[in-house]
Amino acid sequence: MASAYDTTDVPAPRPVSGEVVIRMAGVQKWYDSFHVLKDIELEVHKGERIVICGPSGSGKSTLIRCINQLEKHQKGTITVNGVTIDANHRHLDQVRRDVGMVFQQFNLFPHLTVVENCMLAPMRVRGTSKQEARDIAMKYLARVRIPEQADKYPGQLSGGQQQRVAIARSLCMNPKVMLFDEPTSALDPEMVKEVLDTMIGLAEDGMTMLCVTHEMGFAKSVADRVIFMDRGEIVEQATPAEFFTNPRSERTRNFLGQILTH
């Protein structure tokens, strides 16, 4: 299956390796009779940064949540780093080790300090020693520029700081791909930038990223490819230049008209 990305005549602004990290083929999902994902075909290459946008209820969050199986799909196949998700729990474990996720509501563990939040998965999933886990945690907390908050509890931090901790917590598992599910939607406006800057830093280091976001500025400056979803379908995918200046479908134009005019 050829993605729109391959056929578009606008050259990619940045060379992306041919290695496919995520492949979704014929993925379908229903909530009872509601068809949330309709025949999703998607390939994500190593180092690629993808922004997924679309109206609420279009299935964009559900799509990325299927990749690490927080939501189960009913049809089609999802392959991450060569491992196809099936009933075998080991495959799912492997996929989850390779895929980091950042949530809209941060979902930090409130009973653990910041550094303990970051140490938990390396220790309990990978079996890393406590000292090593702490070193890893401090390294990534420094990278999101809040090492001085390590011994505080999440409740003592601002929203932006909490989200940066959540990013660091994911990075401690050394993921191959990062999924962002509306990471700035729950933040006060003045905190959006610090989180976006952290994400831009990650992108510059070559992280493969899928971001569901309404931050069109981020999409324009960082994304290699923008995917527009509506009613459970991928309606259009293109480079940001193409997507914002010359959207092909009517639905995309309507959507852009609504979000860019205010």
Binding site: L70, M101, N107, L120, R124
Partner: protein
């Protein structure tokens, strides 16, 4: 031959308090151990497990504790087991407490936001680690006040063990009353002794609840 109520009778009642406390402690520890598994089963992803736990809870919540004690005590005899009143009371109360604690704790587990399960799963934690390191530590904080409240209930419930012949505080009261014929005095003292055991726990429960409410505001 009627005896007067004397200091000795009072000491006899007072010493029976230890049996009430011992029975409560055993029923609480046993009930908590079994109750944890009931709560986990009630929140399981597997439907059959969930249904079995629901059935267990319904059974023990829907029948009187006294009947449960009778069934354990006489049921054991029917099955050829010689269960003394002490063991029968401990077993019956454990089963009953486990159903109630299981249901209380189910609510506490479900009070932990869905996002916590998702974040832990996304990090690769499987069920045992997810429960142990993420969900249960948070559920425990919610669970402490209602659990202490239930302990009050449990201490009072042990009085029913008197009927199958276990000599705890209530049974001791009956024995003393049979000898002295001063029911108002004897059972008045028994009631005061129960109150002295339960009241501090009620206060503690209320205090913990206030503290929890403050912490989550």
């Amino acid at each position: 031959m009627i005896r007067a109520f004397s200091y000795n009778e009072f000491l006899f009642l007072l010493s029976a308090v230890q049996w009430t406390l011992a029975l409560s402690a055993i029923a609480f520890v046993g009930g908590a151990t079994v109750g944890l598994f009931i709560a986990l089963a009630r929140t399981s992803d597997i439907k059959a497990v969930r249904l079995a736990a629901t059935g267990y809870i319904q059974l023990f919540q829907g029948t009187p504790l006294l009947m449960q004690l009778f069934l354990v005590f006489f049921g054991a005899t029917v099955m050829g087991l010689d269960l003394n009143p002490w063991a029968a009371a401990a077993l019956g109360l454990t089963l009953n407490a486990s159903a109630f604690l299981g249901e209380i704790w189910r609510g506490c587990i479900q009070a932990v936001p869905r996002g916590q399960w998702e974040a832990a799963s996304a990090l690769g934690l499987r069920y045992p680690g997810l429960m142990r390191y993420v969900i249960l530590p948070q559920a425990v904080k919610v669970a402490v006040p209602p659990t202490v409240g239930f302990l009050v209930q449990l201490i009072k419930s042990t009085s029913l063990a008197a009927i199958i012949g276990f000599t705890e505080l209530t049974r001791a009261g009956q024995i003393v009353n049979n000898a002295t014929f001063q029911p108002f005095l004897v059972f008045g003292i028994v009631a005061v002794l129960y109150f002295l055991m339960c009241w501090p726990l009620s206060l503690l429960s209320a205090r913990l609840e206030r503290r929890y409410a403050l912490a989550t505001r």
